[in-house]
Symmetry: C2
Amino acid sequence: MKFKRSERLIDLTHFIVENPNHIVPLTFFAERYQSAKSSISEDLAIIKQTFEQRGIGTLQTVPGAAGGVRFISRVQENDAKEIVKELCERLASADRLLPGGYLFMTDLLGNPSIMNKVGKLLASAFAEKEIDVIMTVATKGIPIAHAIANHLNVPVVIVRRDSKVTEGPTVSINYVSGSSKRIQTMVLSKRSLKEGSRVLIVDDFMKAGGTVHGMINLLEEFSATVAGIAVLMESENASERLVSDYISLVKLSNVDEREKRINVFEGNYFDSNLSFL
Amino acid sequence: MKFKRSERLIDLTHFIVENPNHIVPLTFFAERYQSAKSSISEDLAIIKQTFEQRGIGTLQTVPGAAGGVRFISRVQENDAKEIVKELCERLASADRLLPGGYLFMTDLLGNPSIMNKVGKLLASAFAEKEIDVIMTVATKGIPIAHAIANHLNVPVVIVRRDSKVTEGPTVSINYVSGSSKRIQTMVLSKRSLKEGSRVLIVDDFMKAGGTVHGMINLLEEFSATVAGIAVLMESENASERLVSDYISLVKLSNVDEREKRINVFEGNYFDSNLSFL
């Protein structure tokens, strides 16, 4: 079956978007479309240009025997600002306020379109870093971790509060929760993480950073290293922060339970050294 | 800024794939590309044809004032067979066997590329049904639920074993686990689910179906209804099945712990009344 250029462009775009951060050899596409490599190169050049102009991402050419073309999902600064603004507005709504100054965020974490945007933003921030795996803690970090993983094409491992038979042998540590100063346990399946893995730690909310700090300690037990830390929301009112080098999309600053007022601002995302398209 | 047809096709394809099951009015695209609606219609016709030929999905035209075009993600039967075969092969590997005849599946559930395929298969099966929300139980069902949600563009709600302060008021029920006959609790945030919602219930593994049955009971408390049930894996050796109408991708049939042998077959996915492309 022969393909017209328009059909190739459509199928190529779909394939590339479905397979971010995969290195795909040109020969794969040449066979798929029964076309000369030179035609495929021209197609890819058009796609690269359009992706960059529209703020979708970029195509990288990876040289060498195992080389090919790789789609890196990126966000333009304008679009990123829009997304963060939308998050702030949604999160600042008074009816999210729960006793103890907590915020109800479950609806946002369950919204696939918002999670895809959040995942793209945070994946963009770590696109240049070498990341082997994303780690989060059950339950609320999972949608964020998977949303990032969809763009970075790396596996997700999930730390739990308790061990389950379906996880096989586990490694467990105790840690001190930053805010409540209580001793807690976290558990990770031994098979989940290879020695030496570079790990992106992800969570939905960070106050003092006890949970994230616990995950860093857990990594040491696996001889793995921290490649980055990303949270959806940080709380400004943390007395003593246990974690310093992290990226947050939004920042919760004043929660007035009596007045039912919440202030949510941009996090430190735009302060960090990001390369926007 | 004027767009060439090739650029429009690339950006349109990206937009459509990123926004499955959204109805997008033609005027949106006409403004986005500063083009006549007739040109956009031609573009969309080429995309529809290519998507159908390549087994990517289809574009539906929704008439009326709130109308537009909607991308439905679909899988061709051949591709679906390939994916299920890959799942069977991966799951049948002897080193997955855990004490008690359980299978280690965590690596597959953490693999974004496999989850995307699983999500697309299960979303295809329910593309014609009216689904308002996907429900699963923490922790292992979450990646599957979100993978399906990405294609159906509906929110995910997560049932938990215990209630947490960040969930707000909750509804809790007791249920009898099908295999162990133990009384267990499941909890859902009251805000998560609107009355009358049509719910797709999703889980990673079903033996007797106690957990799924519990979720069905929980739906009654919310005056919500079951729109479908989907599991990644079912166990053939369930003495008494509490749930009858469900779709499974794979079926675990014989687990011989002494011989370290596992048999994994196709589930009932292909028996069901699916409309493949």
